[in-house]
Every structure is written in C-alpha cells, then in structure tokens.
Symmetry: C2
Subunit: 165 residues, 2 copies
C-alpha cells in the first residue's frame, strides 16, 4: 500500500516536471519583444542570450527525459538505475534556472558598476515571458529535487533500522 502510494507520488512528480519544463521551454522560446529608443531598435529574443539558449535546451532535455522515463517498467532493475539520470537532470535544470535567473535579474535591475542598464522597462513583454518561464522551470527543478528525496527515502528506509558494517 505504502509502495503503491510512493509509486503514484513519483509518477505525479514526473508528470509535473514534464509539464513544467515543457511550459518553460515554450514560454521562453516564444518570447519576443522590441522597442526603439533614439532611433536605435532594441530587439529581444532568447537566442541573443547564451544563458537563455542553455535554458531552453536544458528544459527541453528535462521534458523529454521526464516523458521517456515514464515508460520504464516500475518493478525492473532499470527503475532503480534511473536515479543516476535523475541526479543529472536535477543538476541540469538547477543550472538552467540559476543562469537564466542571473540574466533576468540583470535585465530587471541592471548593474550600474558595470555600466549595464536595466532593459525590462523597454521590453516588458519579453521580461514577463522570461519570468513566467523561470517560474515554470523552478517548479520542474523542485519536482526533481522531491523525486530524488523520494527515491533516497525509498532506497534507504529498509537499510536504516539495521546497522551493517
């Protein structure tokens, strides 16, 4: 009973991760805005920023992996091994959120010491898209963190009462 509940919990987390990373990919990939200041056109697309490109690729990988792993038979040895790619994907999504978040924060606040002006005032639509994508990707990364904790709990609980050398 507890095992079935844990399996359902992990299935729901994978579906949540797939939905969140898919949304993050689509929202970031469709973000676009442009404005003209003093005759200079400021064009904003995710392709212009390496961190946002990495974000899209990482979330697409996260989404694809989350869907593929749903087809792994739950009682097979393979199902125990998915913890290894789970760790990789959790790290990948975390890196994507952190890198894109750092650039999004810079776009919003700027950095006067480096002479980088904030751009969100000029391209609000792009910034809103990025913010939405970041929230979705954060949910995806958090789902993977909980998946890892659930797997660790499942694997460790039978081992903890005993104290083997």
């Amino acid at each position: 009973m507890a095992k079935a509940a844990s399996r359902l919990f992990s299935l729901l987390l994978r579906l949540l991760a797939a939905a969140a990373t898919l949304s993050a990919t689509i929202i970031m990939a469709t973000s676009h805005d442009s404005t003209t200041i003093f005759g200079v056109t400021l064009d904003a697309k995710f392709q212009y920023t390496p961190s946002f490109k990495f974000f899209v690729v990482a979330n697409a990988i996260g989404c694809g992996y989350s869907l593929v792993v749903l087809f792994v038979p739950p009682r097979s040895s393979l199902s125990r091994l998915v913890i290894v790619p789970d760790v990789m994907v959790a790290l990948l999504l975390t890196a994507a959120v952190a890198a894109a978040g750092a650039l999004a924060h810079l776009g919003k606040r700027g950095n006067s010491h480096a002479g980088w002006l904030p751009t969100c005032g000029q391209i609000p639509s792009f910034c809103h898209h990025v913010m939405g994508a970041l929230i979705c990707a954060f949910v995806g990364a958090a789902a993977y963190l909980f998946l890892l904790l659930d797997t660790i709990h499942t694997v460790l609980s039978p081992l903890l009462p005993s104290s083997p050398s």
Copy 2:
C-alpha cells in the same frame, strides 16, 4: 577491501570538494580591480554583483559542510543520511557556478542586443580572479557529483542482483 577503497575514495572527494570550494570562496572574495575611462571610474568587486555574492556564500556553505561531514562516523546510520544534504550542496554549488558563469560570460563577451558592453578588457585582473574562482567551484561541484554517484553505487549494488517487487 572494496568497502575500504570506496570509503577512501569518498573521503578524498570530500577533501577535494572542501579545498576547491575554499579556494573558490577566497579567490572570488579577494577579487578587486578598477579602471578609469573618460573620467569615469569603473570599480569591480564581487559585492556589486548579486550572482557573485551568491557564489561566495554558496561556496562557503559547501566548504563548511564538506569539513563538518568528515567527522560523521563512517559506520553510523547518520553516514547513510548525509546523501540528503549531499544532494542539496551539489545543487547549491551547481547553481552558484551557473549563475556566476552566466555573468562572467557577459563580462567577457557583452551582449550587444541589450546594450551591455564587455568589461573584461578594462578590468582584466578581476576577470582572471572570477575565472579562477569558477574553475575551483566547478571542481567542487564535480566532486559532489562523483560523491553522489559513488553513494548511489554503494547503496544500489547490493540491491541490483535481486528483483524485489
């Protein structure tokens, strides 16, 4: 014999992670450079960039944790539970490297679409420090990835031959 080798491997990885994160913290925290262009002073310190502040805090936490966990008795139940903070620290260090790496790349290359000029030409000493800190922190994060894979291998290998439901 194999268990002792695995324990030695994990001890060495923790020492490597502690040394790498300590170096990253010190190198980033001591980075400073300034230059004057057209009468305007461009001052560079890690405190001026939120991602670099996060980097220093995350690496300091990673270093402190790596040292504290060395004192956990190797045969205790507690030693099995350290995988949970290990996962957290691996994610934290990855996020720190990604966020600081995104800003370091921007400093080196700039982003013409956003009107952000590269700054490394003016403050090369600061950029070299940041690059050194990033390499150290990457080694620390990689050490934690290998630690996780080693723990997973140790915990999973006795379970894999059997096929419990």
